[in-house]
């Protein structure tokens, strides 16, 4: 192999390794992993019998690792709750389940963005550091009313 190609491939490989290292360190240090990872199952036809999803919304948490639990129900074609207020700086565990098909769940302008699938609960813990009114929308096609699925997350002082 030409010596320049050796240098180029070494540089490329090392860069990629450094990217991975940065991602690993930041994930461990920040206490976050790719959104919704892990396996928590739920019966797809009994989502609304689960007390978390029968009364979705923001609740103070008993867990010392975070401040609030935020429960959302995704269904064709709405989110429950339609609006929620969160105190700025709160660490919130967002949990979403679907009563029908796959939906997306994205709080636009934040890093909260994950899939919601039948038979599973999606969990993601996130700190809402920046005040504002954020549009929540579905970004996975779920049928004809797909773009009607919205909610609002207000992060308030």
């Amino acid at each position: 192999m030409h010596k320049y190609e050796k240098i180029w491939l070494s540089f490329g490989t090392v860069s990629l390794a450094v990217f991975l290292l940065i991602l690993l360190v930041s994930a461990l240090h920040g206490g976050h992993s790719p959104a919704a990872s892990g396996i928590e199952t739920i019966h797809p036809e009994h989502v609304l019998d689960d007390e978390r999803f029968a009364n979705p919304g923001l609740y103070e948490s008993d867990d010392p690792d975070y401040d609030y639990d935020l429960y959302f129900v995704a269904s064709a074609f709405r989110y429950d709750p339609a609006e929620v207020e969160i105190p700025v700086g709160s660490r919130v565990k967002v949990s979403v389940a679907t009563t029908d098909v796959i939906h997306g769940f994205q709080i636009t302008g934040t890093n909260v963005n994950f899939m919601v699938e039948p038979s599973l609960v999606s969990n993601y813990t996130y700190t809402f550091n920046h005040p504002g009114e954020y549009l929540v929308l579905c970004n996975e096609y779920c049928g004809i009313g797909h773009t009607d699925m919205t909610s609002i997350v207000k992060v308030v002082e």
Binding site: L16, S33, G38, N113, L120
Partner: protein, 554 residues
């Protein structure tokens, strides 16, 4: 002088040409249909165009995705691979050709059936057909037949390659035939995933034999196939870049061995990475997502090798033509030859395309872009430009070659127009998509004001920009359609356009031993797949309690 490679007669014979031509006709029809769908989409999303009541945005989107990303690509790849194998291995035998025709009829019929189902609004499930949205069983059967048909054609191509090797024991196989073999072996291994999902899960479920389906498993099997699919598309473009383009330019290829090695790496690392399309999904442990992220980063490396080879070829040619400076060899390249310009523009777009891809694969960073219109921008500057412009660049010589015609200067000029119009349209459209994707604008979405939220107004502005870009693209497509028809029907001049195949600087060097050891290649590939997928799939089979029923929500 050991191992001299002799190039045989450099044409695709008349009988094989018919098979290739049949494929190319479908490519052109697919471009017209899929391109029209795309135009309708950008116009609808601008907010200024309403679809008639008898067709929905999502039907059009399904058509666009299936016809361009599944049909156009598959037909071109199979046709091109038949042409390449025929060209360098001395022609197909009658048996091989017959098998090829059987494969063709299978996926041609399946395509027509699938298209009808989409137009009948029975399969408005988009090109990924995620359960538990449930299409009509005929649609799933059509998809299964399409895939099996490609296995049949791939078999014919592999038969030809292995026959050549038997008949030329000890000799280095023609590079294009090796590359086709790699692509087809990769195809066999990765399509097992989607075939399993369709045959054993979706068909029984959609016909009512089973009530529920394991959604997570069906998605994972799809993406096990779905990422390798993009390499199935990309590798034929690389075949042109490595093994055709140097001859088009008028010089030698850089390294046959390095080209083979890069293809070997693609075979290994294209498949065990599907979960990087599922990074924000529940049901998969973070550890296994990370394993596949690391494997994904490794598949970047053969593309880095390719970049070096391409520049090396360009520079060597430029210096042969007298260039003395550090970068002025660029000017010596054949900028008026559309067979070069089309793939070259493709290469240019692959720079932001590849960078975007690395960002997409970067674990938690994926949350910034997942399912936003950034992703759509990304794949339009990867499959939508590097891949298809290279395909079109090949068609500039292939269409006249297989129909006994010449690439005339007038048609060549049209090819250049085509290239520049496409590049302009794609730059405008894709840039707008990348930008608003970062602010959260979703993909797979018709026009919406999102309840009046201010951010949606920003999105609409950029969607108008996307409509402008998409319109230029559509103009390009119309030029392309006319061009391709003319390439096949223009007046014969007596000269037949050549199918250029490069020879390499290291033509006489022996092939690196393991690179063509098929037992080794398949073993490593399967091993990596097992490492990457065994646990996640095992968990999906054992930890899930209840599956999901079907829904038809369109």
């Amino acid at each position: 002088m050991a191992n001299t490679v002799r190039e045989k007669i450099g044409v695709v014979n008349a009988k094989d040409s018919k098979l290739v031509l049949a494929h190319m006709i479908f490519v052109i029809i697919a471009l017209a249909l899929g391109g029209t769908a795309g135009l309708i989409q950008v116009l609808e999303r601008s907010g200024y165009f309403e679809l008639p009541s008898w067709i929905s945005y999502y039907q059009v989107l399904t058509l666009h995705g299936v016809v361009l990303a599944l049909v156009l690509t598959t037909f071109f790849i199979m046709g091109f691979q038949f042409a390449a194998i025929s060209r360098v291995c001395g022609g197909l035998t009658n048996t091989e050709r017959r098998i090829g025709w059987i494969g063709f009829f299978m996926y041609a019929t399946a395509t027509v059936v699938a298209a009808i189902m989409i137009l009948l609004n029975e399969a408005t499930v988009l090109y990924t057909f995620y359960a538990p949205l449930q299409a009509h069983v005929i649609y799933y059967i059509a998809l299964a037949v399409l895939v099996v048909g490609t296995w049949v054609s791939a078999t014919a191509q592999l038969m030809s390659y292995f026959r050549w090797k038997r008949q030329h024991k000890g000799q280095k196989s023609p590079l294009l035939s090796y590359m086709v073999a790699i692509n087809n072996v990769m195809w066999y291994i990765c399509t097992i995933g989607v075939a399993t999902s369709v045959l054993f899960m979706l068909i029984p479920w959609s016909v009512g034999w089973v009530e529920t389906v394991n959604v997570s498993l069906s998605r994972t099997l799809f993406w096990y196939f779905g990422h390798a699919l993009v390499y199935f598309w990309l590798l034929p473009a690389y075949m042109v870049w490595y093994a055709v383009l140097p001859k088009v330019i008028g010089t030698l290829g850089f390294s046959d061995n390095l080209a083979r090695m890069s293809f070997m790496l693609f075979l290994f690392f294209s498949i065990p990475v599907g979960i990087h399309h599922q990074l924000t999904e529940p049901g998969i442990d973070a550890f296994w997502k990370s394993v596949q992220i690391v494997l994904t980063f490794m598949v970047v490396i053969p593309s880095l090798m390719t970049a070096f080879s391409m520049f090396a070829v360009f520079e060597t040619y430029g210096r042969q033509q007298g260039a003395k400076g550090l970068v002025d060899w660029f000017k010596k390249l054949p900028w008026t030859d559309s067979r070069f310009v089309l793939p070259f523009i493709g290469m240019l777009f692959f720079i932001p395309g590849g960078i975007g891809g690395i960002i997409n694969a970067s674990g938690q960073m994926n949350q910034m872009v997942h399912n936003t219109i950034w992703i759509v921008g990304h794949f339009h500057i990867t499959v939508g430009t590097p891949v298809v412009l290279t395909y079109f660049g090949a068609m500039m010589f292939l269409l006249p070659h297989i129909t006994g015609r010449q690439l005339t200067p007038a048609l060549n000029k049209m090819g250049l127009f085509f290239a520049y119009t496409w590049a302009l349209g794609m730059t405008i459209m894709s840039a707008a998509m990348h930008f608003i994707g970062l602010t959260g604008a979703p993909r797979r979405s018709n026009f919406s004001e999102y309840g009046g939220h201010p951010i949606a107004e920003t999105w609409q502005t950029y969607q108008i920009v996307q409509a402008v870009g998409g319109t230029f693209l559509f103009i390009g497509i119309m030029i392309g359609i006319v061009l391709f028809i003319r390439l096949m029907t223009s007046e014969k001049t007596g000269i037949v356009e050549e199918f250029p195949v490069a020879t390499f600087m290291d033509e006489n060097a022996p092939v690196t031993r393991f690179v063509e050891n098929w037992k080794f290649l398949v073993l490593v590939t399967v091993f990596l797949v097992l490492v990457a997928y065994t646990v996640p799939i095992y968990q999906m089979l054992t930890e899930y309690t209840v599956g999901a029923k079907g829904f038809k929500l369109w």
